[in-house]
């Protein structure tokens, strides 16, 4: 399906690879170091048929956006040049309206590995700055980038895009941090070597937790985990002692109840600065539900964590829809600006013609030398021209309807 649009008087083409299409070793081969960004962008601008160029290179994507009258030759050159190492399965290409939409989606963080992340906006600014230095930013890309930055800021300020984690293990770690404060200062006890428990431990380590204790029926299995993640290994007989000392207990085991109410009552939880958080990541549950009644203890099972994840997912879906609407409005605004820009030479020519006609009429009427008549005529024609040009510009900005844009956006999403 074509993505061309009558208001884009030049061709737009975007070619690149990202974490969606290429593995990390392929992306590494195409990454452009920051100190080479200007030079490589200048090279792109020098390619036949290219009027404007932008090069975006991050750890997760390398993309080139070109504007010109005929870009087919330029794209062929790029495929065999800057993207020579990439196979067709790694590269994606977008033309015209799809390229505009894609750039704005990238700027909003809709295409990022972590939805809504804001680092991409800074990276895009660096690329824009490099293009400015290289002299490859012009009347098409400069306003497009300005609008992309404004949109990116607005999306992050007004929507909840990027809020809320979608991983049960990460939700579990968030809850632990909310109870006991910075994880660098807390101790965690992981009971069992189940997958979710180990994932929770990995998230704890990633967030700075250094004091981990792994308890398992078979000590050797717990020791195996400590070789990878650090910490200490203990047997299940040490559970009560370790519970009394830790800030977080995560239980991920098979086969029945491991922790009962009295385990926690004997741990003297009333002596603590913050409640003990107990995460039951087992199916069937390994923590006796009656334990939740113990003062100073917060117990969460997989259902509780899944509810948080589901709520976060709903929030993100709503934010993504809201962001898409804002994005479409911004693209429509860009197209309107292109329409007005295209009409500018015509309007300017019309203004000159009006002046010629006015001067000729004043001469015919024999009042060309009368200062008062001249002043009235100039003022009248200026006001009439302003009113006429204002109406024309408003009409141009109003546009030719949203259908073409909606179709192009849907076809862009279908391609992904």
């Amino acid at each position: 399906m074509t993505a061309s649009h009558p208001d884009l008087e030049r061709q737009f083409a975007l070619i690149g690879l990202s974490h969606w299409s290429a593995p990390v070793d392929m992306r590494e081969k195409h990454a452009v170091p920051g100190d080479q960004l200007v030079a490589r962008t200048r090279e792109l601008g020098a390619v036949d048929g290219v009027d404007e160029a932008l090069l975006l290179s991050t750890c997760n994507r390398t993309e080139v956006l070109l504007v010109g009258r005929d870009l087919s030759g330029a794209l062929t050159a790029l495929r065999s040049g800057i993207f020579a190492h990439a196979g067709p399965q790694h590269l994606y290409e977008y033309r015209d309206l799809h390229a505009v939409v894609h750039l704005m989606r990238v700027g909003c963080g809709l295409d990022s590995l972590v939805l809504g992340e804001s680092q991409i906006l800074g990276q895009l600014r660096e690329s824009a700055s490099a293009s400015e230095t290289a002299g490859t930013l012009g009347d098409h890309l400069r306003p497009l980038l300005d609008q992309t930055f404004a949109l990116g800021k607005r999306v992050r300020a007004r929507t909840s895009l990027g809020e809320g984690t979608l991983s049960v293990a990460r939700v579990a770690v968030d809850i632990a941090e909310r109870a006991s404060g910075p994880l660098e200062e807390s101790r965690a006890l992981i009971v069992g070597t189940g997958e979710t428990g180990i994932l929770t431990a990995r998230h704890l380590v990633a967030r700075g937790s250094r004091d981990l204790v792994f308890a398992n029926r078979t000590l050797a299995n717990a020791e195996k985990v400590t070789r990878d993640l650090g910490g200490r290994a203990v047997g299940l007989d040490a559970l009560e002692r370790e519970i009394a000392r830790c800030d977080l207990v995560a239980v991920c085991v098979d086969g029945g109840r491991v922790l009962h109410r009295d385990h926690f009552e004997r741990a003297r939880l009333d002596r603590r600065d913050a409640p003990l958080v107990a995460l039951d990541l087992s199916v069937p549950r390994a923590i006796d539900p009656e334990a939740a009644e113990v003062d100073g203890l917060l117990v969460y099972d997989l259902d509780d964590l899944a509810r948080v994840v589901a709520e976060n997912r709903r929030g993100r879906e709503a934010a993504t829809r809201e962001t898409s609407e804002m994005l479409l409005a911004e693209v429509a605004k860009y197209l309107a600006r292109r329409r007005v820009a295209r009409a500018a030479p015509l309007l300017s020519g019309l203004g000159e013609r009006f002046e010629e006609v006015r001067s000729a009429y004043l001469s015919e009427a024999g009042v060309a030398e009368d200062p008062r008549a001249r002043e009235l005529a100039v003022e009248l024609s200026r006001r009439l021209l302003d009113a006429a040009f204002g109406a024309v510009k408003n009409g141009l900005r109003g546009g030719s309807g949203d259908e073409l844009l909606d179709r192009a956006y849907r076809s862009y999403l279908d391609q992904r």
Binding site: R156, S160, R271, D295
Partner: protein, 273 residues
Amino acid sequence: MIQLLTVLLPTAYLAVLLAYAHDFRAQSEDRHTRLRRLYFYATLALHAGLFAAYVRSVDGPPQFDRLHVVSALGLTTGLLYALVGEGAESTRQGRAGVGLFVVALVFGLQLIASAFGPLTVEPHRADPTFYFLHVGTILLASASLALSGTYGGLYLLLYRQMRGKRFGPLYRSLPSLSELASQMRRASLFACVLLFLGVNGGIAWAHARDVPEFSYSHPLVLTALALCAHFALVAFSRHLPGMNPRRASLAATIGLVVFLGSLYFALAPGKFH
């Protein structure tokens, strides 16, 4: 000037409250987040200006009406939070979630003071040095007490939310339970030490000047000493058997309610401006 500031302050604090409410909902820092501190400091400066105007109007220490005390309490609480509490909190958590509630308290106190308090003050007969030391100490103690109660109340709210497995705005925007408990105890310690010094300083002055109204059974003296003991329990709750953070928070919140209640019952009705 006094009348202008009295009328302006509640509006100014309301603007600060709205800025903090925006930040409470916001995910990331934006222009409003960065400006809210500026709004807050500027409003506190205006508030301090009101008291400077009172002092200037009588050329010395003024005799405050109880509603002036309410206003002074709001100012001192705001200052203490802005200078100490908020800085510590923002560094750890990235946002001043508690600020919304502190500013709401300050706004409420100033609204009452502006609505019902008198616009004039009389000169106080006390020695100025003693006056400012005694009043300053008591005000700082009261502000610490107010902050302790606020932290305690927020601990209870957040604990209840987490125990009920609800993860709404409070969960997202407040510091951790551990941080709230720690700040509460710190503020309580500050409150009970200063209250002890302030009350005893006042008693010593009353004896030295043979002040006829003074009595150990005076309600204000008894309340102050009782609050001092109460908040000492909160401050040292970590070392007391059976006093877990939840119970300590409950005690701090009750202490704040009792303190505000004692101010309320001492209020004299005034004209609405």
